[in-house]
Symmetry: C2
Subunit: 309 residues, 2 copies
């Protein structure tokens, strides 16, 4: 096993190519922000055995670590700029793991057009804990929030819901292999373009990370309204639709989490399809007076709405 300094010099420094990173040689990164923008900051942690499976490919873990943070920026309508890594590694993350992880990180940074600015690496931990801080920017005063939904607004969701939950079951080998579903679990695609397009259009927004229903409940409570969701129109991929037969299946899709789709509200007259461009968006409900998520047609909510942290 190479030391931390060698790991940083040989694996991470080659990814930190912008001036802001200073070759990872200084005590901190220095970045000149674009003039007259608000800055947006998020930090999410992935822990081995909690947020990912030790058997997951290291390159996919790196991708997911970046993607879940960029998804938070997308939910705010922000454009990403740079990231800092906090890697606490155990003996299980050997040289092979580290090489694959940093290769995957490099791919993901390129894919999303984001710079690695700095961070910290420590070894000797009993189980890996991976943290990432993402920094983005947005027009002043326009960042989206969870708190602006108003009765009469429509409720929208991007893409398809439930694929990642099926992908997790595939990764755990409790469901037969399906490449597309597994990829939705391991390589989520944050909705960065849609998030930016929703600035000035959406009245409230968040990303679906813990389950559509629990995240809808959070948006509803932050806005002080009720969100009525019609599960009959929940957007499913073809692969997920083929595995969704019963009402219980449908509830499993709506509470599985890890979707990293955007759930948002907008006034009825907003032309969401036009601003979404090629991104699929589906109207799945409406905002009413109330204090939480409800199901259309007076259906009863399940006891479990998603992942509680």
């Amino acid at each position: 096993m190479t030391g931390e300094r060698d790991f940083i010099a040989s694996r991470l420094a080659p990814l930190a190519t912008t001036a802001a990173a200073r070759g990872l040689a200084d005590d901190a990164a220095v970045w000149t922000p674009p003039l007259g923008r608000d800055l947006v900051f998020t930090h999410d942690v992935l822990a081995a055995g909690v947020h990912y499976l030790p058997s997951d490919p290291p390159a996919d873990i790196a991708w997911k670590l970046l993607a879940v943070n960029l998804s938070d920026l997308a939910a705010m309508g922000a454009a990403p700029a740079g990231v800092l890594l906090g890697l606490a590694l155990s003996a299980a993350e050997d040289d092979d793991w580290r090489r694959a992880f940093t290769q995957g990180l490099g791919q993901a940074l390129d894919h999303f057009g984001v710079a690695l600015w700095g961070g910290d690496t420590v070894s000797g931990i009993s189980a890996a804990v991976l943290g990432l801080t993402a920094i983005g920017h947005v027009e002043p005063g326009t960042a989206l929030s969870r708190a602006g939904a108003r009765p009469g607004d429509h409720v929208w969701v991007s893409g398809s819901i439930g694929d990642a939950g099926l992908g997790l079951a595939i990764a755990q080998v409790t469901l037969p292999f399906d490449k597309a579903l597994l990829s939705r679990f391991r390589r989520p695609e944050p909705r960065l373009s849609l998030g930016r397009a929703l600035v000035g259009m959406a009245t409230a927004c968040l990303d679906v990370s813990d389950g559509l229903l629990i995240d809808a409940d959070r948006l509803a409570k932050a806005s002080g309204v009720g969100l009525v969701i019609d599960l009959a129109v929940l957007p499913l991929s073809m692969a997920a639709a083929a595995r969704t037969i019963t009402d219980a299946d449908l509830l499993a899709r709506a509470t599985a989490g890890d979707d990293y789709e955007l759930l948002f509200t907008a006034p009825p007259l907003a032309d969401i399809a036009a601003i979404a461009g090629r991104t699929r968006v589906t109207r799945i409900g409406r905002v009413e007076a109330g204090a939480g998520v409800m199901l259309a047609g007076g259906k009863i909510l399940p006891d479990r709405l998603g992942w509680e942290h």
Copy 2:
């Protein structure tokens, strides 16, 4: 044990009082930076059993987590603005621990005038890993670096060296109790004022975290010069001086780390004492041609210069 959501709502949200934090209710923090400043970013990780002792008081751990990151900002000459936390907690961090940790964090945030903007908390880890991202700012183009030392410059260090290493021995009960030394280990004071004053004065700067000699070696190599350190003039506190009898004692002080003092270089004519104000600064050497740290008088360097990560 309360859940993460309760912990965030009851313990962390009360500390996140600035508008940027949005009550920790959104997916990310939003901050309007001061106009026309460069931004400075650092992220350091403290792991239980690696960087602190499980017996350390939780309030002191919180203080140290903030202080070590602010020390990186100080080394760049930056003024701190806000922080994001990444807390991965085990069962050992129970409600009492969490209450004491957040109380200490609140004290430290107040003490240093820094805002809590956001972050992430996860539970179910086998041993705690605590990450913190600190964001600061500096006049454009003036951030200090490790790379500007030139032959002929003088080498300076702030405060006193070796106290924290003795404090660690006291915490490990291998040395008799001394309140001041223990406090230097558990509650370091980053040199934020001095760092800002060194902008435009110092040719190179870093903070002493792993040991004076190893950090001097890093500054020397980043600058492509030699740093000749005279240990005979190493600044010691009275408590440390009383415990420093032999040459081996002196080398122990110079390789102990956790000092969080600033080591910097400046041209011979720079009036460092004047800009340091009430902060003690000591000239401990000179810059020559070379490629690393050396000891004055041709003395032999020890095999171990400090903590290697």
